[in-house]
């Protein structure tokens, strides 16, 4: 493919990078990333993916913008209140970078639609706010051999890992969702807005690394950070041979949503 002069200028800071260069930028423009949830994590992630020139960005979210979202979901603005998040997000992305093709899914991610939707993308970015969907994304990716970035935030803490086929999956580490009520949701516990920005941005970085094939992904390790002490730790996890989805004798062979979401953030 040939860059236009405008593209050369737009992506010059990428092209200059030795590890990205012309080839890497082409991969980004040809790349397809699905952002699940246009919320705290999905907002910064989608903005950076768009700015970087990821050619196709899918956004799935069933919600409309609520005023309580605006403290951290930076892709939405005050006039967007009550509008579907996917529409609000699509408009911002197109303003940032007309090169990007945005596909929107104003619906819940379910066992029924997940495989069809995922099949259109190279990489899935999990920006969801509830455990059942996180496990669903994990299982769908493991079973279909797709890579994804997991992310979660609460209060001042964040964690993220990247799954690629053959490596440690989310269920290797967390066998199943925690009992209802054990882990508070963001609406109950609160979250510092910028923590969402930090984590979503890390996830976007993982997506960009995955598409361009550079660096070392957060595979087989969790990156855990606490914003109060501003400390980052990377914790290694090997594959779990007893993992119910990717272990030696898997018990999960077809998708099912474990439980209804507990939080509407």
């Amino acid at each position: 493919m040939n860059f236009t002069d405008i593209q050369i200028e737009r992506y010059s800071r990428h092209i200059i990078l030795k590890d990205v260069g012309v080839e890497g930028q082409i991969k980004l423009l040809e790349g397809k990333v699905l952002v699940v949830g246009a919320g705290g994590l999905g907002s910064p992630a989608a903005l950076y993916l768009a700015a970087a020139g990821v050619g196709t960005i899918g956004i799935i979210d069933n919600d409309v913008v609520d005023i309580t979202n605006l403290q951290r979901q930076i892709i939405h603005t005050t006039p967007d209140i009550n509008r579907p998040k996917v529409i609000s997000a699509k408009e911002k992305i197109e303003k940032i970078n007309p090169d990007v093709k945005v596909k929107t899914y104003h619906e819940l991610l379910t066992t029924d639609n997940i495989n069809d939707i995922f099949s259109e993308y190279d990489f899935i970015l999990d920006g969801t706010d509830n455990f059942p969907t996180k496990f669903l994304i994990n299982d769908a990716c493991v079973l279909s051999g797709k890579s994804f970035s997991h992310g979660g935030i609460i209060k001042f803490d964040g964690q993220t890992m990247t799954y690629t086929p053959g490596n440690t999956c989310y269920r290797c580490v967390f066998n199943s969702p925690p009992p209802k009520g054990l882990v508070p949701s963001c609406s109950q516990a609160g979250v510092l807005g910028s923590v969402a920005g930090i984590l979503g941005t890390i996830q976007a970085t993982e997506a960009l690394k995955y598409l361009t094939g550079i660096g070392e992904l957060l595979t087989n390790r969790f990156l855990i950070f606490n914003a109060l002490s501003m400390s980052f730790r990377s914790v290694h996890f090997n594959r779990n041979e007893n993992c119910p989805v990717c272990g030696i004798n898997p018990t999960i062979t077809e998708l099912k949503l474990e439980e209804m979401p507990v939080c509407d953030l």
């Binding site: 860059f3 050369i8 200028e9 010059s12 800071r13 092209i15 200059i16 030795k18 260069g21 012309v22 080839e23």
Partner: protein
């Protein structure tokens, strides 16, 4: 006082054989050095000049031993003895061949030098007043001797990862710096049992550490077991690969105190269960003689002042201790001889070397104080100055030490003069410890001082000698603290600065317990304020004095600095250049003055070229030699890529050339050197993985010419990359670039991507650059 180990004669014979092998060039210098240094024999800064460091456990030497050491020194051509800060005595300025005679003669008088240097158990220190101090818990000297006897007889005391220092204190004021040693013992009594509080892991030097408490109390019979376990811990877990990080404190930094203590406890238990941990505490009978002399009465204010300054009462009624000062710890062999000879009549327990490099006399009956005073006067020993002037200490500095940056002794001399000439009430300041080190190593023990200095290279347009200031160390078994960094001062201004600071302190002294509590309170701020008055260093043309170190007639330079005797110093030297590279890069970021940038770039090439020469034992005498040595030993040897050769050559041929177009390459060169250093192994070898020299493929042809004139940075580079991406490896691309920023940046960036710049030529006001795709 300590007992010589049985195998010492054999070791001395071994050493003798090695000397002749070395002189016959049958063995490698490095191999010889590995034996020589642990024998306590160091090479001085002047090539071919050596010194022998004599072990004196607890600073003890008998008068007749001192007399004989002086005789030995004179016999082999040395006029100078030197008291070290570890309470030893050194015979200096001798030839290599004679060191072995000296070892043999020392053996005859019950002294040894083994463990004076290298990775060994070093001289064990004891509080200088132990045994006579009215406030002491008990006399720790017998334990110092006992532990010395045990450890110097054990082979594994000579094969540790790095040096291992032990000290015994007789009071809770920690008068022997126990908490700043690898292993420290502070005398304690519990239920009538003599014992020690034990500290482990402390040391000065870079990244110093105060020891944590290992045991609140051990009975005195356990010191051998405790020391053994510490030695084994160090031997097992110390870093043998990187001498820079080898001291015991680095085991603490690496594993954490809890883990180290657990490991220690395991070893301790193993040894304890194995039994056989008895240590024999010698029953030391110090004889105090009443000499066959007629007591002399001295009357007069000078004698009274001397008594007030230098004479102290002992816990033994009627006996006195006397400080005999030697500036820098230097004792002319003649004076040492007379002292020993004269003092013999007072018994065998009369002399201790102090950590402040003086001789302390003890057990002098009151009626003979006059005799001693007259003797000192006659011998030419300084008796009329305030104590402070004679307790300030310095390392030998760049005078004799190969690692020295500044002439610390010169600075101390300058300071002495300035203090003497000042109107300060110096007798009020007698307890202040001022220490000066010529380099960031801690031989001058500045980190344990009230006010300390260590030599660094100051730089404005050129180098000048300078010091970092540290202050406020606390010695105590409870809240020991290292002196902290508080400012910087040029060597030139060090004396005046110190006088001003002490003047300030005197005016506030009444409010404080001591100098360190003053520093802990407002002193630090006073120092900062004072430093700011001295931070304008005049240009060379304006005042050349700043560019000459104290006592030197040459403009300050690092020529002569070389491979250290302690190999740790080697890394300090390398770090010096590495820091210079980093600092100059920072300076470049902060200025847009092209002349300045050019100078900084030159400094980067210079430091990059010099940085690792020392690993090859090369000490270039001038810049030309330096660049040549770098080319010959690093570029031509394939350690550094050939493509930088032109740069170094060009810099050598024309130091004033415009280097700005080569900025990226200069940075890459410095990165390559630093990377090489990081891959250096313990024996100073490098992984030879430098890229192969660039050769232009003859068959390749210019595939494309692209005109990027008029295109600004970084878009010209972006376009270059896009063009290159379409070419295949080996193809040539010629680009045209504007002068200025484009030519200064683009070729280097292209190169950093792994492509080759075949040539770049100026054509009128623009440039043609020929690139070969990698």
């Amino acid at each position: 006082m300590y007992s010589l180990p049985d195998n010492l004669t054999e070791e001395i014979e071994n050493y003798e054989a090695l000397i002749s092998d070395f002189l016959d060039k049958k063995i490698e210098p490095a191999k010889f050095k590995a034996t020589r240094v642990p024998m306590g024999i160091y090479e001085q800064r002047k090539d071919g000049t050596f010194m022998v460091r004599v072990r004196c456990a607890g600073g003890y030497i008998s008068p007749s031993q001192l007399e004989q050491v002086a005789s030995i020194a004179k016999k082999y051509g040395s006029e100078l003895l030197h008291i070290t800060t570890r309470q030893e005595i050194q015979i200096q300025n001798i030839t290599l061949q004679r060191t072995v005679n000296i070892l043999k003669d020392l053996y005859q008088i019950g002294l040894a030098s083994r463990g004076g240097g290298g990775n060994t158990v070093r001289n064990i220190m004891a509080s200088v007043d132990s045994g006579i101090d009215p406030n002491e818990t008990f006399d720790v000297f017998p334990y110092t001797v006992a532990l010395t006897n045990k450890l110097i007889a054990e082979a594994d005391s000579w094969t540790l990862p790095r040096k291992f220092k032990i000290a015994f204190s007789n009071t809770e004021e920690d008068t022997a710096y126990s908490t700043f040693n690898d292993l420290g013992f502070i005398a304690k009594e519990k239920d009538g049992v003599k014992g020690f509080k034990v500290f482990i892991g402390g040391s000065l030097g870079l990244k110093p550490m105060v020891s944590p408490v290992l045991f609140e109390f051990i009975p005195s019979g356990e010191i051998g077991l405790v020391a053994d376990a510490a030695k084994k811990l160090f031997s097992r877990y110390g870093n043998r690969k990187n001498k820079h990080k080898a001291r015991l404190r680095y085991v603490f930094y690496k594993l954490g105190k809890g883990n180290v203590f657990n490991l220690y406890q395991q070893i301790y238990n193993e040894l304890k269960n194995a039994g056989n941990n008895q240590i024999i505490i010698p029953d030391i009978k110090s004889t105090t003689n009443l000499p066959d002399l007629k007591p002399q009465d001295v009357i007069g204010s000078e004698f009274d002042l001397w008594r007030k300054r230098y004479v102290k009462t002992q816990k033994q009624d009627g006996f006195y201790s006397i400080i005999v000062p030697f500036i820098f710890g230097n004792v002319p062999a003649d004076i040492a001889h007379s002292l020993g000879e004269y003092l013999r009549q007072f018994g065998n327990d009369v002399i201790r070397f102090s950590m402040r490099q003086n001789i302390h006399l003890r057990n002098i009956p009151e009626q003979y104080l006059g005799n001693i005073y007259n003797f000192l006067l006659k011998t030419g020993i300084n008796t009329g100055e305030p104590l402070l002037l004679n307790t300030m200490a310095s390392c030998t500095g760049a005078d004799t030490c190969r690692l020295g940056i500044c002439l610390s002794r010169g600075a101390l001399n300058g300071l002495r003069k300035e203090l003497a000439k000042s109107k300060l009430a110096l007798d009020e300041l007698g307890d202040i410890k001022i220490n000066i080190s010529g380099c960031p190593n801690s031989c001058g023990q500045q980190a344990s001082a009230d006010l300390g200095f260590y030599g660094i290279v100051g730089r404005n347009d050129r180098m000048y000698p300078a010091y970092e200031i540290v202050a406020g160390a606390v010695q105590s078994e409870y809240n020991a603290k290292l002196a902290e960094q508080v400012g910087k001062i040029s060597a030139r201004d060090l004396p005046e600065f110190t006088v001003k600071l002490l003047e300030k302190y005197l005016s506030k002294k009444i409010n404080y317990k001591n100098f360190s509590s003053y520093i802990a309170s407002e002193g630090k701020k006073n120092i900062t304020d004072l430093c700011s008055k001295f931070n304008n260093i005049p240009d060379f043309e304006e005042d050349k004095n700043y560019y000459f170190d104290w006592g030197s007639e040459n403009i300050f330079s690092l020529v002569g600095r070389g491979l250290g005797e302690c190999s740790a110093g080697l890394f300090d030297l390398i770090d010096l250049d590495m820091n210079s590279i980093i600092n100059n890069k920072e300076k470049i970021l902060q200025t847009s003055d092209r002349a300045a940038i050019n100078e900084y770039l030159y400094a980067i090439i210079y430091s990059s070229s010099r940085m690792l020469l020392i690993t090859k034992g090369i000490e270039p005498k001038n810049d030309q030699e330096l660049f040549d040595a770098f080319i010959n030993n690093f570029i031509d040897e394939g350690l550094i890529n050939q493509e930088y050769k032109y740069l170094v050559k060009k810099t050598k041929q024309n130091p004033n050339d415009n280097l700005i177009p080569d900025k990226d390459n200069i940075y890459l060169l410095s990165d390559a050197v630093i990377e090489l250093y990081e891959n250096m192994d313990d024996s100073l070898h490098f992984k030879t993985e430098a890229a192969k020299p660039v050769t232009v493929d003859k068959k390749a042809e210019v595939v494309k010419i692209k005109d990027f004139r008029g295109i600004k940075c970084p878009l010209n580079f972006v376009k270059t990359k896009i063009e290159l991406s379409a070419l295949k490896s080996g193809d040539l691309l010629e680009i045209l670039l504007d002068d200025g920023e484009p030519i200064e940046n683009v070729p280097g960036s292209v190169k950093s991507e792994g492509h080759n710049i075949i040539k770049q030529d100026r054509i009128d006001n623009y440039w043609s650059v020929l690139i070969q795709k990698n």
